[in-house]
Each structure stands twice: as C-alpha cells, then as structure tokens.
Amino acid sequence: MVSYEMPMDKIRQKAIITENISIAPGVYSMWLETGTLQEAAPGQFLLLYLPDRSRLLGRPFCIAELKENRIRVVYRAAGAGTAELSRLTPNKGVYIEAPLGHGYPLDEDIIKGRKIALIGGGLGAPSLLFLAEELKEKVTAEDSIRVVLGYRDGSMKRFLADDFISLGFETVISTDDGSEGIRGNVIDALKETGYSPDLIYACGPMPMLSAVKKYASDEGAAAYISLEEHMACGVGVCLGCVTKTVKEDPHSHVRNARVCTEGPVFDARDVEI
C-alpha cells in the first residue's frame, strides 16, 4: 500500500521506456523502467510527463502491472498528449510521479470467502490486470473470481484478455455489437454467465460504472469502482479532480472527494455518479 511518507524522489522519478507497442487499434502497451524499486497497490496510478515542453500537466494512467522496478501502462491514444506518447521509442526517458492515490481495498475481511468479479470496460482493463495479479496471491479456495471485459467490437482484439486468462482466471468477453464474445455490455455479459458476485471491482467508462453501481445496489453486492477525472496536480492540492460524494467528505466539507487522493477507487455507495 502507498505510504505518503515516501520521500519526494520516490514520487517523482525518471523512467526509461523499454517497450511501447500497439496491442489493438489506437491502444498501446508501454513498459517503463525506473531507477527506484517501486511499491504500489492495484488501482493506484501515475502521472506521466511528456517530453514536449509545451505540455505541462502530467497524464494520469493506471498501473497495469508492476514487476520489480518495471511498470506497465496500457493506454489509448485519446488526444494530442497520448498520441505523442504513442510515438516515443524505447530508451526515451520520461518523468513520472508514482504511486499516487488509493487503490482497491484488499483487506482480508473484505475479500475472504467472497465471490469476486473484476469488471473492466475498454481502458478499464489495465488497472484490473494489476489487481488480478495481486488477487491471485491473496485468494483462497473459498473465494472465486470471474473477469468480465467489455470492448467496442472485435477489432479491439480483446486486448489484455489473454493476460487475465494466463493468470488462470475465467474471463468473459462482451462487445457492443457482438462481433466477439457476448453481445451487449459487461452487465449483460455478467448476467448471462449466471455468476452472481458479492464483491465487484470495476474500472471503465462512466456509464459502465453507473451500471455497475446500480447492479451492485440491486444485488446487494459490494462494489469498488475506479473513477477518472481531469487532473492537474495529482496529489490533492488543485481540487481539479473532484467527484460528488453522498456524504460530506472529511477533506472538502462540501461532498467533493478528490479522485487523485481519496480515490481513484471509491466504494460505489459513497459516490454520486
């Protein structure tokens, strides 16, 4: 788990790109090597600063994998900054700040004996991959885990799905147009498999997260969802990245929790999405 007592140089560090390849149309997998051995929890994120010095703000990305001092990021070329990122070649250096935020709760009393579902939509899959690796170490025979991944269509090459499968998790695919796996959204797919989780971890676009929240509430399951908001500082000072909470949160006193600090992972019941 993140320790905020970490010295500055562990937060801000130079990282060297060792791989940056396309794994689906417009989707890239990048491995970064940092000098400092990293500790991070699934669901935490990093800010990546681009070499183009006309761009000043870091881009937030989930940590998709962490192997010793190597970090994986899986990202979509969404705009000008990520397009630039996709053009960077191995051996290029970038600054990152990591690890940031609070990840998925994984305490024993939360996961023990649960039927767990990992639900990812599009670029939500990366943060769940790191989670899946960690869960693999933690789960016991009593627990069960199912992975549901949603894609726009078959052209997205169900990116990362094989990574979950090779971890040994049963993995269900859905696409909006049915061109691969189950036709429909991730909730449709989950229902179709007949698996009824009582603990959900989810990451993906806002409409999907709203559907997950509703599903969990209807079914009485716990759900932890990872949110996205535009960020400037990534460490809680700018108040750029807030999300509406149900109750007054201890920091803002106006029901505006900071996604970068209190999140990005929230208990679905606590946020108004």
């Binding site: 937060i11 600063y49 809680g236 000072v237 750029g240």
Partner: protein, 311 residues
C-alpha cells in the same frame, strides 16, 4: 552576464513587504499549493519566504462541476470555482497544521459579497498565525450579475476600504485581475482605498472546445488561463502597476524558473509567487529559491533588494 570575478558568497534574500520581513521573496500562488498539507511531504515548507493558502470564504463553497482543468499550450485553464471548506474548518485544520512550520502565512480570501469578504477578514484579524491577507477580487459578485469585483474601480475601492477597516493590523493585499483595460487604474484605485500591497496577476479568462465531442473542455465553459503562456502579460502588468503606485507588489503569472522570478522582480515586484508550475514539478518552488541564490552569486548581487524594479 557578469564575470565570475563578480561572484559573491554572502547574499541577502530578505525583503520587506507591508511592514513584514520575509527571509526570501518567494511564496506560492493561491490555489496551487493548498495549505501546504499535501506538498509538505515533498517540499520543505520552511524554505519558503511565505506560503499563500487557497482562497477561503465565510461559508463552504462547492465550486464548479468537472471537468475543472485542462491543458493549453504552455499553460492550463482552470475553473475550480473557489471550492473551499469555509473559514472555520480552515482555521481549525489548515492554520493549526501550519503552526508546526516556521513559515509566514498569507491567507487568500474570497467572497460573493462585500459582507462575505468582511466576515473572513474579521475572523482572521486577530489570528497571530496569519501574516497578511490577500483579497481575491476575481470572485463573481452575486448581487451584480457575477461581474468580478476587480473589473470595476468603484467596486474594487469599496472592497478594499471595507476589508482594510476590518483587518486591524494585518496588511491587506488586493489581488488584481488582468482582465481589464487598465490594470494601472485598478492599482491606483486600490492604493487610494488603503491597500497595503497588491498581488498580480490572477488568471486571464480563456476557453477551450473539444471539437470532436463538440463540448466545452471545462464544464464552466470559461476558465482562467495560467502558466508560462501568460508570463509576458504578467511581467508587463507588474511593470505598469509598480510604475503607477507606491505600495509593494507580489508578482505572479507563469513563473517557472529562477530567471522568470528575477525578471518579475526586475519589472518591479517585491515578492513573487510560484503558481501552476507546482503541478508540473512539486519541487519547483524550492528549486526557484535555490536558483535565485545562484543567480545572485553568479552575477554579483549581494542584496536581492538591489534588483527590485531595476528597469
């Protein structure tokens, strides 16, 4: 550049401002550093000349919907909408936190009406933990259809007078908006109304549109532009203002390096504030403080006061 012969080793970075002495001229720009709680993990707060806190109002403010921030070439737009937990939480939590540090605190104050400004100023007037008050007049005036207090000399004068009257012995610094035809006129209005100092510039109003989604990039439609992009405008306004009034100025706007800070002081600023660049490099402000010292040694400036308004 002066020769290395001119190298000096004993330098003084102390500056006086509205009756206070600061160990160096560098503070942070309100809203870009919180109250130091988060950055205290990475930055030695005691190295700062002063610490300016995020705008605080009489009651909690919710701020604007998200997205609140987006990037622009060499800058960013923000429309946080002055979210803050209100003066009571601020006093209890933030000022208490800062007690443990040896750094003078400048509290930035916002309000939707003159009465709200007064309430905050009054509440802080006797608090020893506060060195100076900075009054943000870029707040929307709810009774006048959201025009900003800082765009009308008469309104600005009124806010200044009323805050000054409530502040007792605390210096009152009026923080000016650049979105005006003549910032010198505004500065003169504030000075005449009793301001002890001025802060400038706040952000320049801008807009960005996501052409693919056909949507404003900032939910509030417009946001305030800050960062290196606006630095030349900030330097010009600091120069104009310091040539129009006799009260001291805290200069800010796009300062990203010690050179930028020195430039702002040469234009006339007595102190300077580091703003959005904190988001790019949390150690920017301490780097800048160190860099000012290096510049002084390298170019033979023994006392930082020598360079204030040298042009």
């Amino acid at each position: 550049m002066k020769d290395s012969k001119d190298r000096v080793t004993d330098i003084s970075t102390e500056v006086g401002f509205a009756g206070h002495v600061f160990r160096n001229p560098v503070t942070v720009a309100s809203g870009t550093f919180g109250s130091g709680i988060e950055y205290s993990r990475f930055v030695n707060l005691n190295a700062l000349g002063a610490l300016t806190t995020k705008g605080v109002s009489a009651v909690p403010w919710e701020g604007n919907p998200t997205p609140r921030v987006t990037e622009t070439p060499s800058g960013m737009l923000n429309a946080i909408g002055l979210q803050n937990p209100g003066i009571e939480v601020f006093i209890e939590r933030d000022l208490s936190f800062l007690e443990d540090y040896d750094v003078p605190v400048i509290v930035n104050v916002c309000g939707h009406s003159i009465e709200e400004y007064e309430a905050v100023v009054e509440r802080l007037a006797d608090d020893d933990r506060v060195a100076m008050l900075e009054i943000n007049v870029s707040c929307p005036n709810v009774s006048k259809g959201a025009i900003q207090f800082g765009t009308d000399p008469a309104l600005l004068s009124e806010v200044t007078k009323r805050c000054r009257a409530k502040a007792k012995d605390k210096p009152v610094i009026m923080k000016l908006t650049p979105n005006v035809t003549s910032i010198a006129d505004m500065a003169r209005a504030a000075e005449a109304a009793g301001a002890d100092g001025l802060s400038l510039i706040n952000t320049i109003t801008g807009m960005k549109i996501d052409i693919y989604k056909r949507r404003f990039a900032i939910a509030n439609k417009t946001g305030g532009l800050s960062g290196p992009a606006i630095h030349p405008v900030a330097v010009r306004m600091v120069y104009e203002v310091t040539h129009a009034v006799d009260i001291p100025v805290i200069g800010m706007g796009g300062i990203a390096s010690a050179e930028d800070a020195i430039e702002m002081m040469m234009a006339g600023a007595t102190m300077i504030a580091v703003g959005m660049i904190n988001f790019t490099r949390p150690d920017a402000v301490t780097d800048i403080i160190a860099g000012i010292g290096d510049f002084m040694k390298k170019t033979g400036v023994r006392d930082i006061k020598e360079i204030i308004g040298v042009l």
